[in-house]
């Protein structure tokens, strides 16, 4: 299965978004949270992202979903062609769409596409 890492400025935001995505996609979906700095503050930690990446990497690729700012910049530094990709998508909607697709067992490019469709979802 394709793994997902939710990268947010806040540990709480990333953890809850990951819990929500797993709740909707299925408890066994490989979604990990990498929120905040290593000392628990607001920001981004390469170490936390790399640890989260390893925890969800089953060999089928990993999608990183950042919230904004330093999360995006740091996630982009970890991209590996065809293996680790950053999704340019709304954080919550993109995470849920990607998690549902990943749980269905589709390949990395399809998970990314499902996440990107979340950009055009209208709520009303």
């Amino acid at each position: 299965m394709v793994g997902l890492v939710l990268v947010a400025h806040s540990a709480g935001l990333a953890a809850e978004a990951a819990a929500l995505a797993r709740g909707i996609a299925g408890a066994g979906t490989p979604v990990a949270a990498a929120g905040g700095t290593a000392d628990g503050g607001l920001g981004t930690s390469v170490d936390l992202i790399e640890a989260a990446l390893r925890s969800v990497d089953q060999g089928d690729g990993v999608v990183l979903i950042p919230d904004l700012g330093s999360s995006v910049l740091t996630a982009r530094l970890l991209e590996e062609d065809g293996r680790v990709v950053v999704a340019d998508v709304p954080f919550v909607e993109g995470a849920i769409a990607a998690a549902v697709a990943a749980a269905a067992g589709v390949p990395l490019s399809d998970v990314l596409e499902a996440a990107e469709e979340a950009r055009t979802y209208r709520k009303l």
């Binding site: 700095t37 503050g41 607001l42 920001g43 981004t44 930690s45 390469v46 170490d47 700012g69 330093s70 910049l73 740091t74 982009r76 530094l77």
Partner: protein, 205 residues
């Protein structure tokens, strides 16, 4: 320019950023999230420790260590941005380091920065200080001036570039959400970038 000069550059940059930490944070409080001074001060303190812990033998190793440490330890957007500049410079720099070689590697670093941040001149970012500094270095090489004068010209260009961000409207980062209200404030990233260039001029003076 040997590894010692590059170590001295980061030590001086750490000193200047520590000295101006509160000014950088005040600039960031006006249009950002008020952490630039503390973040960069922490990151550069870690860079000094990393360089002291295992003294690098080549300028490239100094730049690679500094870049990787900033990416790992800053916690804000300036970490990956400055980190990319120095890591790219580490890859591009050829030994022995001349002003021309430094200028070429620096230009590559600025290109890597623009690519990662998707920022261009006039967006009110650190690019507005570093791109003019890069141009000044290229002109210094063309005119055949010495290393010291070349770095002084780059430092002046970076300082002028940072001040030129005051009337700009931000198009990148948190400040861009402020729209026209971002006008009238110096960009904190451009301000810290000017300190890096001032530090470079200071260590070869």
């Amino acid at each position: 320019m040997d590894a010692e000069v590059f170590v001295a550059w980061f030590e001086e940059a750490a000193r200047l950023v520590h000295r101006d930490r509160d000014r950088l944070t005040r600039l960031d409080a006006a249009i950002g999230d008020a952490d630039h001074g503390t973040n960069l001060d922490r990151g550069l303190t870690e860079v000094r420790a990393a360089l002291a812990g295992s003294p690098p033998e080549t300028p490239g190793q100094v730049l690679a260590t500094a870049g990787a440490t900033l990416i790992r330890r800053v916690g804000g957007a300036s970490g990956p941005l400055y980190g990319s500049v120095f890591r790219q410079m580490a890859r591009s720099l050829e030994s022995p380091v001349t002003l021309a070689g430094f200028a070429a590697a620096f230009e590559d670093g600025v290109v890597a920065l623009e690519r990662l941040g998707k920022a261009a001149l006039g967006d009110k970012t650190m690019v507005d200080a570093l791109a003019p500094a890069s141009r000044a270095l290229a002109l210094a090489v063309r005119d055949g001036v010495g290393v010291r004068e070349g770095f002084e010209q780059a430092a002046r260009a970076a300082e002028e570039g940072a001040k030129a961000t005051i009337p700009m409207q931000a198009r990148k980062g948190r400040a861009s959400y402020l729209g026209e209200r971002s006008i009238g404030h110096e960009d904190p990233g451009a301000a810290s970038a000017a300190l890096f260039m001032a530090a470079l001029a200071a260590v070869v003076a």
